[in-house]
Symmetry: D3
Subunit: 164 residues, 6 copies
């Protein structure tokens, strides 16, 4: 039973928090589809193409992850439709001790009403990575702080270019 | 002791989550005033007049609710002032297992400091309806998803027209 | 439409937190049934008869509440059966900013599955009373502390007698 | 990559809430080990042997689940040791909108410190089943209430015998 | 060991909730630096200079606080850099029963990764002040409500001028 | 202004989670009183004398902490009375992302009603230590697990002796 999991998110940009979840997922599933969402009326720092490039450089160049087990895409459809496209019945979400449970609870509940063959699986990243959020990483870079502990080399480089 | 309850909210648009709370309130109170708020600097999908129309069509046309026990208005005043206008000492709020309690706790606390004769009553919608949020309903319609399980026929029709 | 609300709880003993909820309920309903539960395998400080007496003394003697609008009983049945017995379709629960929501969410959900004509209504006590819990009141009395801010004269007297 | 998941719990007794999680897990993994814990100083209603029998009757007799994909055991070891014994790197936990996150957060964190090859995966049961808890089911049976909506026939029968 | 605490926040505008935390901090530390943040892309009602003036008038004119123990500034740097500048190893945060813990947990965790000599200390304002939020105070003034219970005279005056 | 903080808790037994809070407190205050509570009807693994000895061995023998800045006692009085005895106006509590906020919120609120000169200060332990709880440490030792990552050498030795 080949197990494919879809990991949707904004990834604006990718951080060690996301990478921790991806790392764990690779131990549990045969393939992980990392899907950068392209929602309307959201002001991203990086557009969806840039975000896909950042994820690829972080995983395959900086961290030498196994390309055969990972696919990186952007998407504008419903997540449940994306799963059907990739023959997956698993939506993967990172869980933090203080996740926004109202959002996660409703997102998983609505996705199930749309397609109850698809399950949302939550993976808890290591405690040390649970404090990392893209929002703070951008704020720290904007204020010239050091983010080496929060994301990979290539991502740091691109972030600094954005705020020059 | 004629019991009138004021049910303030955004209703942008009305969903089965709201309708569940209204249904329960009609069993407990003699009259329910559904009040669509018209707060400044909030980007609504439907303006307040449209939202009032949508609520009326959903309740009276789609679901045949009893018109005598329901009044639908929009308002720009303080909720406590609205209650005084309709001789009601009850503000009705829907409660979800993962409601935004910081908002509810402060809203109820501030309303009480403004007028401690008015009580905030919380009603818990059926668990199945707690996952429904206007925010996701709009996102699903935008992405051409099926929202039959989340709101009424006339509301679905108006939503689709908005996103054509 | 005569409105009767059932307010079930342990009341071991009654505090100003409970009394705040009762006070608010009397403004909203025609009658309030205060029901002290007598669950198995729970080690109460006061048995159910004593707790009923304490509630009566606190409300009618210390605070001169209107006896016509209040009934005080103990019960060992299902709360939903108790509601039927008193022709009430309202279970009243106090809500605190940090209530034990897992317990409240399941209790209300299970009660609804048992009888979906009966609604659970949550009333938020004034913020100042939300910190009062019977558990701490007993601990403070045991350690000879002053609990004048937390419950009524007759209850304080009975508590001190218990810990002599 | 044969996927085996260990689902530890008290199951005192099994309910539709547990069965919902098991059902979902069977769609995602090749085999599910249901492990009834036998912790010290915990007063169970059913001992561990009885609980194992109840789970088997509920799944294989009442609901005709596929025996080949399920194993039911009791255990007194560390969950991480149990995983090693069954060559599994997955601990499965049910997630509710208002789960006891302090317990889950620490349990998952401590298990990872004991063996960071083993991942805790959280599955969210359908909303309707999230309100079901063994604790309330036992309370309702004790008070002669109807629990048909909460667990299977054989479990109801055994519960009633316990409270005769 | 002279104790200096930095109290960063938006203070848009200052309320009795903030003032309660400042009051408590003055009992615990030798000096408190109140730092109004000037984050990018945030639409404040008052700009940072106005907010600094409002804080000074509220504390020193309206409430006669001791000027020697308080310094009021605005800042655009990282909070940890601000602490170094004022030789302080304490970041002070107000804690509410329903604070946004995801934000606080990540903010404190990220600050510690940036500089683990600096500690975040949380002070719980009196329960009565925990319901006060700048956001609601502005909404109530906009709707001509009375905010005497929520902030000081000079702040009320400036707020009304803004909404004329 | 000599700053003394009282750190009350059960410490049954002391863990790296407690030690992290103590470490941070020593950077902020001149002296820390570690007070092991001796509450009635609580079944501790170690009695209060043993717990005091364990804390002393862990801090002074295993970790060579500075004895001049630390005092270790057991107490059976109200925490507010204990503070008065040691001329301290600070109660120190560890804060976790998923602390039991109902307990902390009420404990701090009740202590303030008993003596509003005494402030409760919350310190957030490093994320890695937030998952450590005495309850799980005891369970893991009972099940012959390795707890080197959770507490100090002498504490491990005493725990193993208890479970032989």
């Amino acid at each position: 039973m080949k197990k494919v999991a879809v990991y949707p998110g904004t990834f604006d940009p990718i951080t060690f928090g996301h990478i921790d979840v991806i790392n764990k997922a690779l131990k549990l599933f045969d393939k992980v589809i990392i899907a950068a969402s392209d929602g309307a009326n959201k002001n991203y720092l990086f557009n969806s193409l840039e975000r896909v490039q950042l994820i690829k450089k972080a995983l395959f160049v900086d961290l030498k992850f196994d390309k055969k087990k990972i696919e990186v895409i952007s998407f504008t459809s419903l997540t449940t439709d994306l799963c059907k496209k990739y023959k997956s019945n698993i939506i993967l979400r990172g869980l933090r001790a203080v996740s926004d449970f109202e959002y996660e609870f409703q997102l998983a509940g609505m996705n199930r009403k749309l397609n109850n063959n698809i399950e949302t699986i939550f993976l808890m990243s290591d405690v040390e990575n649970q404090i990392i959020s893209s929002r703070f990483v951008k704020e720290i870079v904007r204020l010239k702080g050091d983010i080496k502990k929060f994301t990979t080399k290539s991502t740091i480089k691109s972030l600094k270019e954005k705020y020059e």
